[in-house]
């Protein structure tokens, strides 16, 4: 039997309270809750997650998706409205670095107070304080009031304190994104070390890179609902595709694609096919084989050119293939063209395939037709960027970097970094 999870939730939901009027609020408060006049506002519903010892859960979602509510529930700062959760061991919730610091007390006193707040004994904290001040690099200022400190120093102290109490579960809300680059690196290193020691982590971040690199499972929340859950690369891919889509930057306005009419050259249908003959496809794993079928009509039987483009939400043209570029010409009064794209190299994202019908010189565009639905590409890997570039590494650890045969010095420096 597996070890008991560090964090478990069961159909977890949270509704905040809203009141139709001030009087309704007064009624509920003054009756000590006997009269329930509030209207629930659901911030989160039906969340089921399990974080095993040593596991790391990444939470992504747009603003107002319920991420902070979820973390508050995990931290025990607010009770659930429905469902249940269970947390094992000491939790260090860093919903904000330096929360609870008092500006008039010294760094040493604040470290002690925060450590006790995080569940450490006073005696234990007195022992740990020197260690914390050392790690945060603030020993010289340890006995001056915190208001004389820079905000970066205070954040370092907060982070060092939370690490020092050796929690079983650490909850981080965007804290990896604060502070200068040096501090960010220290944070990431410290979090990695914490995980190597068997600590569990819940991380909310807008940096999908951090989620993919640090976490072993991810949860995508949207308007309090769980949209996707599981492998971080898959979940963050789905999220970024959805996010780009929602930003209103549609590559192609399907309604504006005007049909030139039955007596002009036109595309009647375009669809994306997989390798199996199982009909149109709208989701694809990066690296799979892909084909685009274009059904066209040409009443005048004039010579034509065909093309297929893939456009991302931000209107970036990411790939294009044309018969003209490959020295081909389309003739006849109707037909089906099939473009095969083996090992489709685009990484996770949402793309719009568009078929183009042009005159024989490729100047006049007769008709453009996007597929009925966007193509959603998912990637099971942690690779970054738009495409997977074929590559090969050569690692030379002996001689000087410039001596590496056939490679620029810059590349080998990167390889060693």
């Amino acid at each position: 039997m597996a070890q008991q999870p560090v964090l478990e939730t069961h159909q977890l939901g949270k509704a905040w309270r809203t009141y139709p009027s001030g009087w309704a609020r007064a009624k509920e408060v003054l009756s000590l809750g006997s009269m329930q006049t509030h209207v629930p506002f659901w911030a989160l519903r039906n969340v089921d997650v399990t974080v095993p010892p040593g596991g790391a859960l990444g939470v992504v979602g747009a603003n107002g998706a319920g991420k902070s509510t979820l973390l508050k529930l995990f931290a025990g700062a607010t009770p659930p409205t429905e469902g249940a959760l269970r947390v094992k061991g000491r939790v260090a919730a860093m919903l904000e670095l330096g929360a609870g610091f008092h500006p008039d007390l010294s760094g040493r006193e604040n470290a002690l107070t925060t450590g006790v707040l995080l569940g450490c004994g006073r005696r234990e904290m007195r022992r740990l304080t020197e260690e914390i001040l050392e790690f945060a690099g603030v020993r010289a200022a340890a006995d001056t009031p915190l208001r004389t400190w820079s905000s970066g120093m205070a954040m370092r102290l907060g982070f060092a304190t939370a690490l020092a109490v050796k929690p079983e579960l650490m909850i981080l809300d965007e804290v990896l994104a604060v502070g200068d680059l040096d501090f960010q690196k220290r944070c990431v290193d410290a979090v990695s070390a914490f995980r190597e020691d068997g600590g569990s982590l819940v991380l909310v971040s807008h940096s999908l890179y951090d989620i993919r690199q640090i976490c072993d499972q991810a949860l995508w929340l949207q308007a309090g609902e769980c949209m996707a859950q599981g492998d971080p690369a898959r979940v963050t891919g789905l999220y970024s595709a959805w996010y780009g889509d929602r930003a209103g930057q549609r590559a192609v306005d399907r309604d504006a694609s005007t049909d030139p009419g039955p007596d002009r050259p036109r595309i009647t249908r375009v669809e994306v096919l997989g390798t199996q003959r199982d009909g149109p496809l709208d989701t694809l794993e990066s690296g799979q084989d892909l084909a685009v079928a274009i059904y066209w009509e040409n009443p005048g039987a004039e010579p034509l050119q065909l093309g297929v483009t893939f456009t991302r939400q931000d209107r970036t043209l990411v790939a294009a293939s044309g018969t003209q570029l490959d020295g081909l010409l389309v003739t006849g009064s109707s037909g089906v063209a099939r473009l095969e794209l083996p090992c489709f190299p685009l990484l996770a994202g949402r793309f719009t395939p568009v078929a183009h019908l042009l005159d024989s010189k490729g100047i006049h565009r007769h008709h453009e037709r996007p597929t009925a639905r966007d193509l959603l590409v998912t990637a099971g890997t942690r690779e970054l960027g738009l495409v997977r570039v074929p590559h090969r590494w050569t690692l030379d650890t002996g001689g000087p970097a410039a001596a590496l045969p056939g490679t620029r010095a810059q590349d080998s420096a990167e390889a060693q970094a």
């Binding site: 000590l32 931290a75 009770p79 469902g83 249940a84 609870g100 006073r122």
Partner: protein, 297 residues
Amino acid sequence: MASIPDSTWIQPSVTGLGSVLRQVTGAPLRIWHVRDLLMTGLARDLRGRVAGTVLGPLWPFAQPAMLLVVYGFLFTTLLSMKLPGATDGAGWSAYLLVGTLAWSSVAECATRGASSLLEGRELVRKLAYPIELLPLVPSLSSTLLLGGGALVVIVLGGLSGYLPWNPAALALPLILILHLALVLGIAWSVAGLNAGLRDVGQVLPLLLTAMMLATPVFWVASPEVIPGIEPWLPWIEASPFTCLLDAWRAVLCAGRSEVPCPPLGQALATLVPYSLGALALGRTALARLEPLILDEI
């Protein structure tokens, strides 16, 4: 594979009778478990009171000492106000001094208690600080300072002959416990109410002023001093604040027989039900309001 949630799971909070009862009766044990947190908060509160001052920790003792000198000077030399049956103003000034010290602690605990949850909201929101501690910290620190002030009054009063030493002063720890229970009960309830409904904090200063004037802090509840007070006496005597001040005067002013107050034992015994009642009611109010507070804060 989903396990059925049992008692080890954190589930939606309920405010039924049993749950409230558990919260109220479990409070001492819960507070004991987080005593380190309480001590840290208390140290922070006490330090924060004198932070940046030159006299520092001497201030809590200097203030009652100065009050004693000022009252003593005012009522023995400047104003010729005397208690019934007294030959000089010393008794009257002792009566006022003790009343002022005790009442200002009550007012402070109510005021600071009312704002404690709102001021500590970051701690609750970000660090899941137990909400029952937030009103407890100022109540405890105020009571401790009142204890310090009472010691100053006992020592200086005895040395100067202004308040002759009397064994009743040995009951100081007892009256401090009863005082803490009463003010904590008030602080818990106003803290909960004000966190849910800010109007409570607006009304509170008015209520406190009215309460101060209706309590014999600056006057003596006796027909000899205030003619025509007889019909109100039962009400005044039934007030928990009257009982509190009577008990304080019984402890501190026993050396001056002209100061009107009930015998020590009777004064303390009358105060006990009020203190325990306030404590239970205050914690019940907070328990009932806790789910609302944790959502709203």
